[in-house]
């Protein structure tokens, strides 16, 4: 069961939960009916003449409803299950319209069915949005984690990271950093789709050779917190660098999904940056190939030059 937050349950939560439960039961009931008597359900919905196709499609949709109902009532990932119902609603409306057009419809019954479907769809969307908003508020934005092993002593790696002026050498999407001596720094990060995010960060913890953590100051465009930990790698293999970032992406969850589609998966971006930092520490510069003259960048990998000398 989901742990309740302190301060009591709000009315909104009650409504979404109750609605979800109701929709789950509705799914189970409708699904059972569709499976037990597909022709009857189709006739009731307004499709005039049955047939093997109508029976098969109705049974299939029945099975779908049963899965969704069970999913919703299981209490895990409820929002996602209710969203799947919204997709199902759209399918239902489309199938009903096509079925009626092909096989002839009882106009009154068809009208009632479509009206009922519209009502159910509205309820599904409302419930799903309510549930999504709640889980969105519970999670604190996007979390990205990446780790790399650098074949250098811990003290050297720590010093390199502590010197924030070094950051732009390898942080492909962090532009120049200037420190003003008070433990706070100014940085510009390249955000999704080429936008630039300006933010100021302050160091909240700094233990030599162990950890540096920071958080953005209040008026930063992108609220973020981050930390980098330095661990001794087993077998004298240098230093394990573990970076964790949490941030609220611009454009919220939708923005995060769009960024992902554009190849800016945060874990991958962070891994690319870490590889840059490893290269700078181990060989003194970022490695370039003719196909990727700018070095490591997952985003650019989608639009590489041919592996031919750069003119």
């Amino acid at each position: 069961m989901r742990a309740e937050l302190s301060g009591g349950r709000t009315a909104g939560r009650d409504t979404a939960d109750d609605l979800a439960r109701g929709l789950g039961v509705l799914s189970l009931a409708l699904g059972s009916a569709e499976l037990a008597a597909p022709s009857a359900v189709a006739r009731l919905a307004g499709v005039r003449t049955g047939g093997p196709t109508v029976q098969a499609v109705t049974s299939l949709y029945g099975a779908r409803e049963l899965v969704q109902g069970a999913g919703i009532l299981s209490g895990r990932g409820t929002a996602r299950w209710v969203w799947s119902r919204v997709v199902g609603d759209v399918l239902d409306v489309g199938t009903l319209a096509v079925g009626a057009a092909r096989r002839g419809a009882a106009p009154a019954r068809l009208g009632w069915s479509l009206a009922a479907l519209a009502g159910v769809t509205a309820a599904d969307v409302m419930t799903a949005r309510g549930l999504s908003r709640r889980s969105g508020a519970a999670a604190s934005g996007v979390r990205a984690v990446a780790a790399i092993t650098v074949n250098r002593p811990r003290a050297e790696v720590y010093r390199h990271w502590r010197d924030l002026e070094h950051l732009p050498e390898f942080m492909a999407h962090l532009r120049p950093v200037s420190t003003d001596g008070s433990g706070s720094s100014h940085r510009e990060a390249a955000g999704p789709a080429g936008s630039t995010i300006r933010g100021d960060a302050e160091i909240v913890e700094d233990r030599e050779n162990e950890i540096i953590s920071w958080r953005s100051v209040k008026d930063a465009d992108v609220q973020n917190t981050g930390s980098v930990r330095f661990l001794q790698a087993a077998g004298g293999r240098g230093t394990e660098v573990v970076v964790e970032l949490r941030y609220r992406p611009p454009g919220g969850r939708v923005g995060a999904v769009v960024a992902k589609l554009l190849g800016e998966e945060p874990n991958q971006q962070l891994r690319d940056d870490l590889r840059h930092s490893k290269q700078v520490l181990e060989i003194g510069e970022v490695v370039r190939s003719e196909g990727s003259p700018a070095g490591q960048s997952t985003r650019r990998q989608l639009a590489q030059r041919p592996a031919q000398p750069v003119a």
């Binding site: 490893k278 181990e282 003719e290 997952t298 030059r305």
Partner: protein, 389 residues
Amino acid sequence: MRATCWTGKRSVEVRDVPDPTILNRRDAIVKITSTAICGSDLHLYNGLIPTMREGDVLGHEFMGEVVEVGPGIEELSVGDRVVVPFPIACGMCGACERGMTALCENSNPNAGLAEKLLGHSPAALFGYSHMLGGYPGGQAEYARVPFADFGALKVESDLPDEKVLFLSDIFPTGYMGADMAEVGPGDVVAVWGAGPVGQFAIASCFLRGAERVIAIDRIDHRLRLAQETGAETLDYEHVSVPEALAEMTGGRGPDKCIDAVGMEAHHAAGALHAYDRTKQALGLETERPHVLREAVVSCANGGIVSVIGVYAGFTDKFPMGSFMNRYLTMRAGQCHVHRYMPQLLQHIRNGDIDPSFVITHRLPLDDAPTAYRTFLEKADDCEKVVLTP
């Protein structure tokens, strides 16, 4: 400059492209004097390696003269004659420090792509897809060699190109096949594939003291070449390989099995070949693993299977039961060329081996398109092509 460019499946062209320039501090520019087409280039030619782009310069077996060095290079100077290993390795990371230069952690700027397919990224290779770096290859007049102070092996002028060129790939690759199989005195070794890499695997087994080597292929001239090195031979189109191997080894099977074929194997049983060929064409598996399956079931109990033929993705019907229950070991990998070059150069100097024995075709660079076709079709008794820019 002129360079051999990949222009699509079964298509290469020699084109005019810009001359290479220094991009990193430890780069050198090499004027190429000899370069070769590798069997693994045929996987690119056949379009089986993902992330190739139209215009990519091919070639990873080359040598030549240093004509320019970056500011970070001290041990190498203009005029030096060098052989270049096909994996690009920095010499500073954990993998390089342990001699595993084909796994260099810094040379592949597209490691993220390789991670998606392979889990972790190996080293970048010259002219071998964007997933493995996006570096232009050496079937050209010039090449940029990154980390040249670590990678390029200096060779004095008393040995001709043809004797040292194959230190770049196929000689060390064949040798590593024998090394991974721990081949030593008294061993009976079976080597699948009598192409250039197979020939060097056979020769390396004898260099390491193997008692008997059995070469398996279907091309007459390749089997004859293996016989000249001292191997017994099997034509898999005429015999069942596992049965023949058992018969030739008193029922034990070979102690060590080397797969020098890889993902585009053929099989005498037409139906089985069609099964894998179809799945490969449909993208349901990337390999045709006939050799791998045969090597595992043929290998003697407690033996070692060593894989130097190239595989790219996923394989079907791997005989795991045979592998597990009979205490077999498998080792596989792209060759850590840097590790083997000095000792193999010494073998060449001593006269233990003359690597030029595999060369059948010597052509100008501009004939690369014809050379690729001839090599693919194994026409004209083609074993190994050397191109001269």
